[in-house]
Structure formats: C-alpha cells, structure tokens
C-alpha cells in the first residue's frame, strides 16, 4: 500500500467484546443530548421535561429492537448492574417459591456470583463459585463446545425451590449460542422466570423472544459504557432487593445523554446488522481456518451455532500473557482467558467448564469497522508470534 508509513504500522483492535468503539452516530447523539438532555428528567420544568422526552424516546427505540413494550425497558448503571439487579429482584419476587437460581456454568461471573449470593443470603447453599460445575446443585455443565446440557438445565429448573433460571443467549468468550428457546419453554411450563444475558449478542444477531428478563450491553454494540439495558416482561413478579428509590433499576436515575447515545447506536447497528453479521462471519471463518493450520492449537467454541464476530483458540505450550504482549508489540490488541492474564491467576471459568486448554488462549471480537485487510495481517503475524513464544519456553520437539 503506497500510503502506509514503514515502521509505524497502525493499531488493529480485535478486543471489542464488551467494549467496542462508539458508533459515529452514537457520538453525534451524545453531543446532541448533552445540549438537550443534560437536565434531571424527574424534574417538572421545561428543561427536565425535555430530558425526559429524550429518555422516553430512547426507551421506545430500545424496546422496538428488543421486542418489548416501552414500559418493560429500563436503563441501568451498566451491564453488571443489570445482571445483579435482575437476579436479586426476580429472586426476591419469588422468595416464597425458593432461593435457588439455576445457571449454566458459562454464565458471566456477575450472574454466577449473584446466584451464589442469593442462595447464601437465604441460607440454602454456601457462597462462592469455585469448582462451579463440580458442586451438586451448582451451575449446569456445558459440553466441549460450550453449549449447556439443556436436559440437565430443564431438570434443574423443574426441581423444587427454584426462584429463577439464567441462561445467556450466547457466550461472549467463545461465541457459542445457547438453546434459550427450549429452556425458556420448559421454564415457562414450570412457572420459573428465565433471565437471558444477551450482552454479547444484541447488535450482532437477532434478539431472541424467549425471555422473561433480558439484559443487553450498550458498550458491546458500539454505544457508551456506564449505561445498561434491562427488559423485564410485565408478567414477571419482581420485588425491590435494595433500599427504596424512585428508580429501583438505577437508583438516583441514569444519565440521559448516555441512554440516548446507547439507543441511537442500537438503531444504527440494527439497520445493517444482517450484512455486518455475514461480513464478519466470513472473516471469523477465515481466522478459524487459518489458525487451525498452526501446530498444536485448539480452536474453541461451536463452529456453526456461534456469534458472527467472536473467535477463540488455545495454543499448547504457549504462555497466554506472553502471546498477548507479543501481538500487542506487533500492533494487534487481543483478549485472553488464560490464568496468567487475569488478576486472580485463575483461568477463565468458561474454558474450564468446557474442558478445553486454558493456557495460550487468545480471543478476538471483530468490530464493525474491522477490515478484511486487518484480519489477513493478523493471520499473517500470528504463526510467527506463537513460534517465538514457544521458542522462549524451549518447547521444540514436545
């Protein structure tokens, strides 16, 4: 390429899961809402009413995409807060039925921790999510591809004492899509509400209708961080799990400009979602095929039933932290679920539950702006980076 400056390669950001760059229209909407929606929407003067109109419009727009009624959609302080509040308030609404929250083993840590907390608060099970799949009555196991055992999950939901069930739409770490429809059918028949964490999927694939509570993450679809979306069907009984507040889903209220930018971003990504999904799926297929030619690699997650923009693989005899650093040095930002890259030195509970190699793990999530050229460059650099890290550890011939 004639315009490229030798020696100063541009950065390629492939770690967009849960924190993607803002969509250009979201930035525009945010600017506009700073002017029109800075006021407290709960106040009765003209400025407050103008902010309230923006917030109502944002809820309406999000509701239309999620297939919900406007009054079923709530903005929260963020995705983790959405999941915590959803578990706490739905479980509190059914405390007479029991205190067990049935989850898959690959739910986000926020869901697993909230489920353990709910059970511990009721004195039912000890808190803590170490060894999640191994504890009887604990999270429901997944197969090698990361898909939950639907029969086991349904059996757990039908057991006595269940307040709530939680199953993600798709796993953001490995991309595998979960059987939410069949689990929701069974949960409905059992009278147990189902929380669907769609934080990794909304904006990338069609939103499922199979949910009673649905959490979605604006920071993942090109909207701002610092605001979350939680939809709760009107038929679901909830109870406040915290101190009284005018807005129990976001005590003190949410930022109107953030909520408005989140809604505009969602409308924008929905407008060409199908084309974007097809384009990114082709690029991810290319990455998975190319990576499988590197010696001693496990390409992780379901090859078919998966998110279009996520790819994950683990390299044998590779230090995950060293590989992330080596790729960063060459201009590529990637994620990893390896223990050495986490603050706790514990490997990803998702990889652990799947029984795949946890060391040498690399995970990429393509942005809408990621180009085919960037992916080709990544595929060209990766084999050498893996080889160099292996060389440092002296693993030739093993």
């Amino acid at each position: 390429m004639s315009h490229a400056t030798p020696g100063t390669p541009s950065r390629v950001h492939l770690d967009n899961g849960g924190r993607a760059p803002w969509h250009p229209l979201a930035r525009q909407a945010f600017e506009q809402a700073l002017g029109d929606g800075w006021a407290d929407p709960r106040r009765l003067h003209a400025e407050g009413r103008r902010a309230a109109r923006l917030l109502d419009g944002a809820r309406e727009a999000v509701a239309a995409v999620l297939g919900a009624r406007t009054q079923e959609v709530h903005f929260t302080p963020g995705h983790t807060a959405s999941l915590q509040t959803a578990v706490a308030s739905a479980a509190a609404g059914r405390r007479r039925a029991g205190s067990t929250v049935v989850t898959s083993a690959v739910e986000r840590a926020a869901v697993l921790q909230a489920a353990a907390y709910t059970a511990a608060a009721a004195g039912a099970h000890p808190a803590g999510v170490t060894e999640p799949a191994a504890r009887p009555g604990g999270p429901v196991p997944v197969d090698r591809l990361g898909r939950v055992d639907a029969d086991a999950m349904i059996a757990a939901i039908r057991a006595p004492g269940v307040a709530l069930a939680a199953l993600q739409h798709a796993n953001g770490e490995v991309g595998t899509v979960q059987p939410v429809e069949v689990v929701h059918d069974a949960a409905r028949a059992a009278g147990v509400p189902l929380l669907v964490d769609a934080g990794a999927s909304v904006g990338h694939v069609a939103v499922p209708g199979a949910w009673d509570l649905l959490a979605a993450d604006p920071a993942d679809w090109g909207g701002p961080a610092g605001v979350g979306v939680l939809a709760v069907r009107q038929r679901v009984r909830t109870a406040s799990a915290g101190p009284e507040d005018e807005d129990p889903w976001a005590p003190g209220g949410v930022s109107v400009p953030l909520a408005f930018a989140a809604a505009v971003a969602l409308q924008a990504v929905e407008a060409d979602r199908v084309e974007q999904a097809a384009r990114r799926r082709a690029l991810v297929d290319r990455v998975r095929a190319q990576v499988s030619h590197i010696p001693d690699v496990e390409v992780v997650g379901d090859p078919e039933g998966r998110l279009p923009h996520v790819a994950t693989f683990s390299f044998l005899y590779v230090d995950g932290e060293a590989l992330v650093t080596e790729l960063d040095r060459h201009g590529f930002a990637v994620g990893s679920g390896s223990a050495c890259t986490s603050s706790t030195l514990e490997p990803s509970h998702v990889l652990a539950a799947m029984g795949v190699l946890t060391h040498g793990n690399v995970r990429i999530a393509l942005d809408r702006a990621t180009t085919a050229d960037e992916i080709d460059r990544f595929c060209a650099v990766l084999p050498g980076a893996v080889a160099r890290v292996r060389e440092m550890l002296g693993v030739g011939g093993l």
Binding site: S314, L316, G355, T358, H359, L393
Partner: protein, 77 residues
Amino acid sequence: MSGTLVDARGLHCPLPVIRLAAAAKGLPAGTELTVLSTDPAAKLDVPAWCRMRGHEHVSTVEHTGDRDGWAVTVRLA
C-alpha cells in the same frame, strides 16, 4: 505404576504441562507419570494435553494442608 513424578509446584501455566511433556519424551507406552502442581490451570490443562496427544488421564487428586495443590496422573500412549 512406575512412580515417575514431575514436581511442578510453584510453576504457572503453561510450565507444568511443559515439564510433564518433557519428562514423558521417549518413555514407553503405558508408563504412568504424576505431575504435582499448585497452579489451578494445570489440573485443567493436563487432561487437555492428554486429549491432544492421545494419552490417558488416569486421575486428579487434590491435596490440602501443607501440601496444597493437585496430583494429576497420566498414562502414556
């Protein structure tokens, strides 16, 4: 059991698996090796290594007390 022991305590991923693989090199099929590790990733990654190399994962025993960690035993193919 041949009793071959690989002490990888105190080492982090992927070193316990690498030490095990190095110890296994050249040993005849059917040999059993046990790797001791304090790294929680090793108890997951040794069985994965077995799967990728065709070896058999025999057992994983958790030690507590003054010898915290795991003893993972494999049988070579």
